[in-house]
Symmetry: C2
Subunit: 272 residues, 2 copies
């Protein structure tokens, strides 16, 4: 059975999209066509949306599910006339919150509000720059400024994880690739030793690592299963010996890995 879902907002649509994705993921036996429609901020755009919704309803033979975070009442009234099943996120929760907080929300006075504001902007860009500048062991003399330093073999997922933590949480995360030399000596690289408490390891299944490396350098020693297997085994041995916490990234998304690292290290988000 096929259903269409729309995530509609007069802003970026991120809230509608995140909540909608999460709710729809609970219905594993239904296949959804998901469409995000941000910046629906005029009556004209709203009427265009109604046409899209009604066309999908006809195509599917069933009402589309609409997740919306539109603030403007006129626009919501137009959307409500479509042949969709509305999950009106803000209306549902803001009334009980206003009651609890004994305060009117911007929503109830019809004012839009953008999510993440300028106070955060610089901090976040700085964190992204930090991750880029301190990627892959490029520089080691700023580790005193790092919130975290990820270690692991090449292509174990360190860079995307650092970038995600920077972007989402404003965390300054450096990363350092362990080399064969480090593994053979079974010692932490000298540059890392003073920052032991900031270290966190990423490992990965050897088959997965070989597949990822193969995309980059096909049929090389670097991407061979035996080399990957050696590096992963020795790295895990080193991390255990040095009592550095680590996680196997194979079966987790970047979000999951990041959240687990912050919990484990007790690091709080910098963007709030």
């Amino acid at each position: 059975m096929k259903r269409t879902a729309f995530f509609i907002s007069d802003g970026t649509g991120i809230t509608a999209e995140t909540l909608g994705q999460s709710l729809l993921a609970q219905f594993e036996n239904i296949s959804f066509t998901k469409l995000t429609r941000p910046y629906i901020d005029t009556a004209e755009k709203a009427r265009g949306m109604v046409q899209q919704i009604n066309a999908a309803a006809e195509r599917d033979g069933a009402r589309p599910i609409i997740f919306d975070t539109v603030v403007n009442q006129e626009i919501r009234d137009i959307l409500a006339k479509s042949n969709g099943f509305m999950i009106d996120i803000f209306s549902t929760f803001l009334a009980p919150l206003e009651h609890e907080l004994i305060s009117h929300s911007s929503y109830s006075v019809g004012k839009s509000h953008s999510i993440s504001h300028n106070a955060h902007y610089m901090e976040r860009i700085e964190a992204v720059n930090f991750a880029l500048d301190n990627d892959d062991g490029a520089r080691t003399h700023y580790y005193d400024k790092a919130d975290l330093i990820l270690v692991g073999v090449s292509r174990s997922g360190k860079t995307p994880t650092c970038l995600y933590m920077a972007m989402q949480y404003g965390i300054r995360a450096a990363n350092y690739p362990l080399t064969e030399e480090d593994m053979e000596r079974l010692q932490l690289p000298t540059a890392l030793k003073p920052y032991r408490e900031k270290l966190f390891g990423l490992t990965i299944d050897s088959e997965r690592l070989a597949a990822i490396r193969h995309e980059r350098k096909p049929n090389s020693r670097y991407s061979s299963f035996s080399q990957c297997e050696f590096e992963v085994r020795e790295t895990e041995k080193l991390l255990r010996r040095e009592k550095i916490p680590f996680i196997n990234s194979t079966h987790f998304s970047v979000e999951e890995i990041s959240a687990k690292i912050l919990v484990e290290k007790g690091v709080e988000r910098r963007l709030k």
Copy 2:
């Protein structure tokens, strides 16, 4: 007035955090202490949470607001005994959705489900790698594989925007810095000409640009206001002349810029 808000989940907490942040942003006159608590997946951790919630209630002299996406009923029952005001996200919306979809959710059968799964993993990592490999004009011979190419002066926000679009939406975005030479000739660089339909410009206020560049290279020609003002003016002239759509990034978050670019270019998300 000070209130504490908890975003609690047995997963990453991203849904609870995103929705909670969005709802609390509507109450501009209240200052919230926001705490994300992911992976609350045992009765013991839930009891620990209850203690934290009750301690915050005592400190603030008011109940904390709890946004939760916990699936397990036992854990939710424990949290419900705390002295917090619960916004139970999944319970609220899954019952009406089950009714509309004539289907039981994993939630109602007590099964957890992680949000973004492995099908997405490789596509997303590939997109992040694409953004990194094709950053700052480093390579131009993969532009045929790009979904988008951002152009603009150095430090106008191209790199974080490309990385965000890669991470969040799986979009392959390259970026190319316009140089003084391009501006003086008032012509698109040769490498970009075949890909005109993929181009999108980022500009920025000269004061903001000078401040950002000053962080990198203090008191240089590069960071001087007159140089920034010249580059921004000439770049905007070039973009207008070449009819390349652009946005001034100064007053928008990376999320907002990304969402606006996708709408403007009609590019659909690759991760769904």
